[in-house]
Structure formats: C-alpha cells, structure tokens
Point group: C2
Chain length 177, copies 2
C-alpha cells in the first residue's frame, strides 16, 4: 500500500511518516520504505512524506499512485489530488483544506480541532494517523502505539496516545473506510 | 551525490540522514531526497539511510551506487561495501568495524571515541557527519549547523555542534578528501 502525506512545515508530516514505517516494520512484521523529498517547495514550507508498506520485499520503493492521500494543507491538496489511485482514500484536514466542488470522494477530518480539544493542535498529525490506520488497517493500533512510545518525546506521549485513539475511534464509527 | 549511511539501531543513522537532507535543501538551496528502508534487518537492529543531494531536480531518487558510504557497524560494512562506486569514499567507525585486509581505500574514523571525549558517545553520528561534509563539501558547514540547530533537542545542541566541528576539523587536516 502506497501512502502519501502532504502538508506544510511544522505539521509533523515527517514524524507521521516515520511512525508509519516503524509501526509496520518493527512491530507488525512488514516491510516499509519511508521517503522524504526536500526540494524548492520544502524551502517554501511544504512537506511531503511517502510510505510504502508491504507484506513482502518492496522492489520499486516509490510512491507514484498513492492508495491513500492525507493532506493537511491546501497547497498539498492541489498538488497531489490528481495522483490518487482511482478508488483511493483521500483524507483532508477540514480547517486547512478547501476541496474542489467536484471532488468525488473524500473524508473531511477535523484533526486540528480534535487535537486542540485534547490539548495541543500540533497533535493533528497523530489524529490523522489514527484515522488512517483505523480506516485502512495498514498497521495495527497496537503497533502504532509501540512506534509512538519508542519515538516521541515523553512530554507528548500521553497527548499523542489520546490523539491516536481519537482518530482511530472516528474511523471505527465511520465504518472502517 | 549519492550517500549511504549504515549502522545499527540507536546510532542515530536516521537523524544523520535527515540532517543531511535538511542542510542541503533548506539551507544550501539544493535538492535532496532522504529514504529510510525498514525491513527484516531493521527488526534485527540494522539501520540504513540513503540521501541524494543534487543541484537540480532528482529524477531517480534511489541510491544504487553510493559515492559515499559511511558505516558505523560491522554488519552494515559487510552488506554495503561492494556497492560503493569505484573511487568512492568509504568512512568506517574505527572501533565498531573491522575492514577486510584487502580493502583498497577507506577512512577509519574514531568517531565514537571522539564523541565520548566530547561528553557522549552517542554523538558519534554527528562526528561522522562533520567528517563527511568536510571531506566532500556536499553541504556547507554553515548549512549543517543550521540544520542541527533546527532539529536536535536543545539539551544536545552544544555537544552536537562540538561533535560536528571535531569531525569537520579532522577532514580539513586530512586534506579535504
């Protein structure tokens, strides 16, 4: 499964990508490749992380047609929307992305608002991750908890766990996709 | 320029790769791609980061024949040594890697020992980075300082800056390659 996360500097896109890779490979026994591209857009603040997760070795480790596209910023939405695999899952941050009127299918997630209610809007990336794994089952809830525990600063641990659960729960309520 | 960093979990390979990518793209105006592969070897503790740095857009963002190979662990040395581009630069961690007797050219850097003398052996990755950029000039000293400042925990900042300078200085003394 190919996943692309797009946003802007400071939204924790790279961290979210790292967590997906770790959860898949270290705790769920899968293969994963995480790629971060820094280019002129990075200097403008844009941030993008690509993750491929597979049950077997990954021969071509590049995301070309993501099955899942998560965008936390308008520019990332505009740039990547056309690349989504037909029938793929698009999740947008509701406050920060205004989708086109003709967009056929997407999930609008109030990740920033939820994170803010939990205590810090910077945890929006983790709310998104929770929803993503709840909807796709690409990694297990438990593996993601382990990855977060092994990675994030202890100060943020409790908040991130609650943010993960909030996103995961919303996906469950939405019926799992 | 294609760079591969290989080591074992806890040596800060992923951080070193991230710092190279950030220094190149955010502070030196270049393009960069950073890829981390998680596979069965990751569960065994192995860690690998690939970085490509270029003055122009990177079409094929995969490291196949690194121009620079930095290895901080025996297993990484054994696995990657044959992939080094002919005439490329190999840097090994002197305490942790025993090179083959027939190895034609490499730099043995006592990165762990130097880091320990500076206060924490965990800064060996930054000593390595300092040497790498001093020897190759792939990113500027100043860009790497900015990347470190923007990335590492404040608690480690002073140590990391000294570790960077120590590696950089050794490369300058060695004649810059």
């Amino acid at each position: 499964m190919e996943i692309r996360l797009g946003g802007v500097g400071g939204q924790g896109i790279a961290l979210a990508g790292t967590l997906l890779g770790k959860a898949a490979a270290l705790y769920d026994g899968k293969e994963a490749v995480f790629t971060q591209t820094y280019g002129p857009e990075a200097r403008g603040g844009a941030s993008r992380a690509d993750i491929i997760i597979s049950d077997s070795a990954i021969a071509y480790p590049f995301v070309t047609r993501p099955h899942v596209l998560v965008v936390l910023f308008q520019e990332a939405y505009e740039k990547f929307r056309a690349q989504l695999e037909p029938g793929g899952l698009m999740i947008i941050e509701d406050e920060l992305v205004n989708p086109r009127a003709d967009e056929t299918a997407l999930v609008r997630l109030a990740a920033t608002k939820i994170a803010q209610e939990l205590g810090n809007r910077l945890a929006a990336n983790i709310v998104m991750l929770g929803y993503l794994i709840g909807a796709t089952k690409v990694v297990s809830h438990r593996a993601m908890q382990e990855a977060i525990r092994a990675t994030v600063n202890e100060r943020h641990l409790e908040l991130d766990m609650r943010a993960l659960d909030a996103g995961f729960q919303l996906a469950a309520e939405a019926g799992g996709d």
